[in-house]
């Protein structure tokens, strides 16, 4: 007889999207989003992350936080692949108005226009905003 916590099986896999709209370091949102994504990754759901507005700054290459005495958590974005979080979407318009391009980002991403990103949001079962 199996205990409830030993039950296995496919379960229901839902599409989770984590939406990141805040710059790193100035507020705690970016770091908290990463924490939640890494925890949620353990539940084997269909996870994606979207970066738009100031959220695109989270992925900027070359972050060096020695001078401000805070932890540089940007290498964590490169580790997400190891947790099966492989779908990272970045909004093209958000990059453009900040003078950034895909080359400025520290991890491979899919750059999408606003309309395409909106369609992707519409496909999700659960959206979590940071």
């Amino acid at each position: 007889m199996s205990e409830p916590w030993e039950e296995e099986g496919p379960g229901t896999i839902k599409k989770f999207m984590y939406i990141n709209r805040k710059a790193p370091y100035g507020t705690i949102y970016a770091l908290e989003s990463l924490e939640v994504v890494l925890i949620a990754a353990a539940f084997e759901q269909d996870v994606s992350m979207a970066f738009l507005d100031d959220g695109v700054y989270q992925l900027k290459k070359g972050q060096d936080t020695q001078g401000i005495g805070m932890k540089n958590f940007s290498p964590t974005y490169r580790a997400l692949e190891g947790y099966d979080v492989e779908k990272l979407y970045v909004e093209a318009e958000s990059l453009a108005e900040r003078g950034l391009s895909e080359d400025d980002l520290l991890v491979p991403v899919e750059v999408l226009g606003r309309e395409a990103l909106a369609a992707l949001m519409d496909e999700q079962d659960v959206i979590l905003s940071f």
Partner: protein, 102 residues
């Protein structure tokens, strides 16, 4: 007397910098810190507003906050001076008052 204004919000997220520029008297100093440093960079949608501020004010940006965000002093708009924490202290000492726009 002379005022030092500090701005710590991204110009994309809040109108804090615009409010500061609108109220800062000519000759006063503006120091961009924390997420405010994104305004100091060339090539953003807010570059014209910031260039306008540079024409009427002494504008500074905090270097450690730039580096933390993956930005380099070379990317800063001409006329903006990069300062370190010691420079921040000097600025507060050189001005009569500090107005923090948050």
């Amino acid at each position: 007397m002379s005022m030092l204004h500090t701005v710590n919000k991204s110009p994309f997220e809040r109108n804090t910098l615009a409010a500061c520029i609108g109220h800062a008297l000519p000759g006063s100093a503006i120091l961009l810190i924390e997420d405010g440093v994104y305004a100091a960079l060339r090539g953003t949608a807010h570059e014209d507003m910031v260039r306008g501020a540079v024409a009427d004010h002494k504008v500074f940006v905090l270097g450690p906050d730039l580096l933390a965000r993956g930005m380099r002093p070379e990317q800063v708009i001409d006329g903006i001076s990069v300062v370190d924490y010691g420079g921040f202290v000097d600025l507060t000492e050189q001005h009569d008052k500090v107005q923090a726009w948050v």
